[in-house]
């Protein structure tokens, strides 16, 4: 391993970090909002909503993320919707992560002791009120580990945006080695940066878990 090449590669690859984090942040935000909607649909009592939510989960967990990305990038323009590579990737990533996070959110809400729901009904709280003040805060504690675990996976999956021409870190790494044919150093740098980012997220997860823990 030539450490000079490692030092040279780092700034070139780091230039893509902004796009990587941008893809991650936007997809997490949009995906979580979608996931919340789908989760609420799934636990509602309206049959069509339940059906739609089930279909959504089955569809977007049943096909590979890459197919979603290719769809957004190659197929959507054919029906007139031309998204830039970045937004096409965000669309694909959001739908994909929403399907998984919806399950996390739903399990979190369901796991809260049924007694809590009954108690708030007995106190004549509206469903919306009890959701907001009783159920969801407790659910969050349960959701934190699987949610951040999915978020960490989402961060890593942003690397697939390289296949739809988004200049994030992985694509910039490919540019380096397809030019100078030095592979080990740039790939090593790329791996180290991802490792640093995911480790930060894992630490964030520990902090979140501690913040939301039961105070006994």
């Amino acid at each position: 391993m030539d450490w000079d090449v490692v030092l040279e590669s780092f700034p070139l690859i780091w230039k893509g970090a902004g796009k990587t984090v941008g893809l991650f942040a936007w997809s997490l935000a949009v995906g979580t909002v979608l996931a919340l909607a789908v989760a609420l649909m799934k636990i509602s009592s309206a049959k069509p909503l339940i059906w739609f939510a089930t279909f959504f989960s089955w569809l977007f967990r049943g096909i590979p993320l890459l197919i979603l990305l290719f769809y957004a990038f190659f197929a959507l323009p054919e029906v007139g919707w031309l998204l830039s590579p970045f937004w096409a990737a965000v669309l694909g990533l959001s739908l994909w992560t929403a399907a998984y996070q919806a399950e996390v959110i739903r399990s979190g809400i369901i796991a809260v002791d049924h007694g809590q729901t009954e108690a708030s009904d007995a106190l004549a709280m509206t469903r919306g009120h009890s959701m907001r003040r009783i159920i969801i805060p407790q659910s969050i504690r349960i959701m934190v580990p699987p949610f951040t675990s999915n978020a960490t996976t989402l961060l890593k999956q942003t690397s697939l945006a390289t296949l739809v021409t988004v200049p994030e870190m992985t694509l910039l790494t490919q540019r380096i080695f397809s030019n100078n044919f030095k592979f080990i150093e740039p790939i090593f740098v790329l791996a180290m940066i991802y490792l640093a980012m995911t480790t930060v997220l894992i630490i964030g997860q520990q902090i979140a878990e501690r913040t939301f823990r039961l105070r006994t």
């Binding site: 096909i63 890459l66 197919i67 690397s159 080990i184």
Partner: protein, 217 residues
Amino acid sequence: MELDWGVVARAWDLLIDGTWVTLQLFAWSLLLGTVLGLVLALMRLSKHRVLRWVSLGYVWLFRGIPVLVALFFAFFVFGRQVGLSALQAGVLGLGTSAAAYKAEIIRAGIMSVDPGQFEAAECLAMTRRHYMRRIIIPQGIRVMVPTYMSNTILVLKVSSVAVAIGIVELTGITRQLSNSTNRPIELFTAAALIYLFLTTVLVVLQEFLERRFALKT
């Protein structure tokens, strides 16, 4: 804008060829991932600190980097030294990544077994290898089945990333076809349906296995 579904019919043979490569990637990387995962899980539970640390390090590394980066390592770095074909490098990259997850799943399964079982086996002077094989692991399997199967379904879908190192599996052949015929909607929909079919088969298998291994109460 009109759709021409005939293009799927004409391309069907090539799509099946691609699906076959996907299944090969899936099967081999699942095998590698499971075997390596089992070894890593046992290492993590061993008395020797070095083994525990190596296993921990492996899992941290391979869960911390994207599968695409593991594939790059396997193909451009490791494969070049050893002369691996793209398919072999693909299996190596996918399998080593999967192993990190399988290791955690297997370890959780083993740890879920009541410690009393371990003590009882030791009282009966069974060797560790004996009781792991005959008492602990079979019980652990029941716990492992759901997470193992959902991770397995993931391995199938992640095989699509092999496109990046030039392996022509289902996603790769679909992209080539979509380019040469200019019909992305029809072709990617067909590929999506094939994947949905395969993953649904696996989900059905998962439910069957969960029922089969359930405690008979």
